[in-house]
Symmetry: C2
């Protein structure tokens, strides 16, 4: 299939014998231009490769993961493509959207907003769960039947919620220092009402701990790897992994939650454990 | 030995079971505050470890290498400390020092300036060759007898010139996409006269190709690894590795110069080959 006219290569760089690409395109879900990074490993030159989507956190964009995580080395070894979307719509400006780091620009929370003016553009759930993977699997040598999903912090929230709601689409799942219970932490309690309105019942669909508690059955669900640094400044007030851990235990979900002494929240931590995550995905995706 | 009062820890992060530190201190050579990064691998908790100094290029600072190169993983495996100085004095402001990316701030060229006003502060040669290694080996569990030196672009120029002039001090040596002949490229032809004055003879001591041509004997010199991307936008006009290669051949120097199809100038390239460089240094430093 030829590339749609709205898919534009901004830049590409040779990296670990593959290519780190940066693209922009006119996205339907968010009704504005969106940017993403795509690493294609050397194996993609002669076969369709599995894809791992990485959702980044607050303040990040589509470049953060490719620049800071050191993931391409492992992806090149395993034969994995890596897709890194931006963290919010950025092609439009809405009132107040850059006033705080935790709402608006870089803070899309991977949901479909229902409140104006956000509802016209802040539809990152639809973008990440459907539109972007469809675009990438149709335009690049990537296997649409073998897609994994992971994320960090706000992106860990995105990965867990989108993954739990779409088990057939995302066959492997993991998270790093994720926000697991946004309805019970300040970041979520600020963002969810603004994007979704005052009805707390609507927030639950974007809360991984609530989704986990509501799971009817875990049959066929992918095993879940979560890593958390114990010197993470956001651990106690924002992240609260113990809530998700209890819900997973209650549901009988195959969760491995690892706690790491001394590690903080940022990419010093992400880079230290990224290899384990990509190997987890490679196994889940049949590599 | 207790830390001198002028050595201040700005930040530290757990990374690959070691610690990535960022320090600032009042430097004598540059007569201003300087910043550096220091990665201590897990082995440094119970023994003195060898040190590799990495000199960064134009526009970079002491954070660039720690954030972008993915080197800590390999350093943690091998038991190497990594020292990343800033690329110029930054604690003072001199007239016009931020007007261009290739002169002044972030562009110290690892020399001791003799022209005012630069001569009072732009003494990165003395800082990198002597003061900073002395400070680090006296204050941290680092072995002052096992120090390697490497660098990228302008930092490759720094590593080659400082290394060739101090073979007893730096026991292993390598460079990535280095400026090898600053007297014969626009970057050097702009910077050297401003820092050193109009006498071209004084420039030769900071030109790796000239230094290589002047070597009396290569006995006991460390083998040299140089990597160069062939899609590097600066290859033809600024870097000119063939000049250095010819000088090394003439001198009988043990140089391995590898050319890499498709790779550019930046950290997408650096990260792709950093493991080979650190293994080269580990071997040279007796690990």
């Amino acid at each position: 299939m030829s590339a749609p006219e709205n898919l534009i290569l901004s830049n590409r760089f040779r990296c670990f014998d593959g290519w780190q690409h940066f693209y922009r395109h006119a996205a339907r879900a968010t009704a504005c231009e969106m940017r993403f990074g795509l690493y294609l490993p050397p194996q993609a030159e002669h076969e369709r490769v599995p894809l791992v989507i990485y959702l980044a956190g607050l303040t990040c964009n589509e470049e953060t993961f490719p620049i800071k995580a050191g993931a391409q080395r492992v992806a090149a070894e395993l034969g994995l493509a890596l897709l890194s979307p931006d963290t919010s719509p950025r092609g439009v400006r809405l009132p107040g959207d850059d006033e705080a780091y935790d709402f608006g620009l870089s803070a899309g929370f991977y949901l479909d907003a229902t409140e104006a003016p956000w509802s016209a553009h802040y539809r990152m759930y639809s973008y990440v769960a459907r539109e972007l993977p469809d675009l990438v699997t149709s335009q690049f040598p990537v296997d649409g039947e073998r897609i994994g999903l992971m994320g960090h912090s706000m992106g860990g929230h995105g990965a867990l919620t989108i993954g739990l709601k779409n088990p057939g689409r995302f066959r492997s799942l993991s998270a790093l220092a994720p926000i697991v219970a946004p309805t019970r932490c300040p970041w979520g309690q600020k963002a969810l009402p603004r994007y979704l309105g005052p009805d707390a019942d609507t927030w639950r669909q974007y809360d991984a701990t609530e989704l986990m508690s509501d799971l009817g059955s875990v049959a066929g669900r992918p095993p879940l790897l979560v890593d958390q640094g114990l010197d993470d400044e956001f651990l106690v007030n924002q992240l609260r992994p113990e809530l998700f851990e209890a819900a997973a235990r209650g549901a009988g979900y195959p969760l491995v939650l690892r706690r790491h002494e001394g590690y903080g929240h940022g990419y010093w931590f992400v880079s230290s454990v990224i290899e384990d995550h990509l190997r987890h995905h490679a196994e889940g995706l049949g590599l």
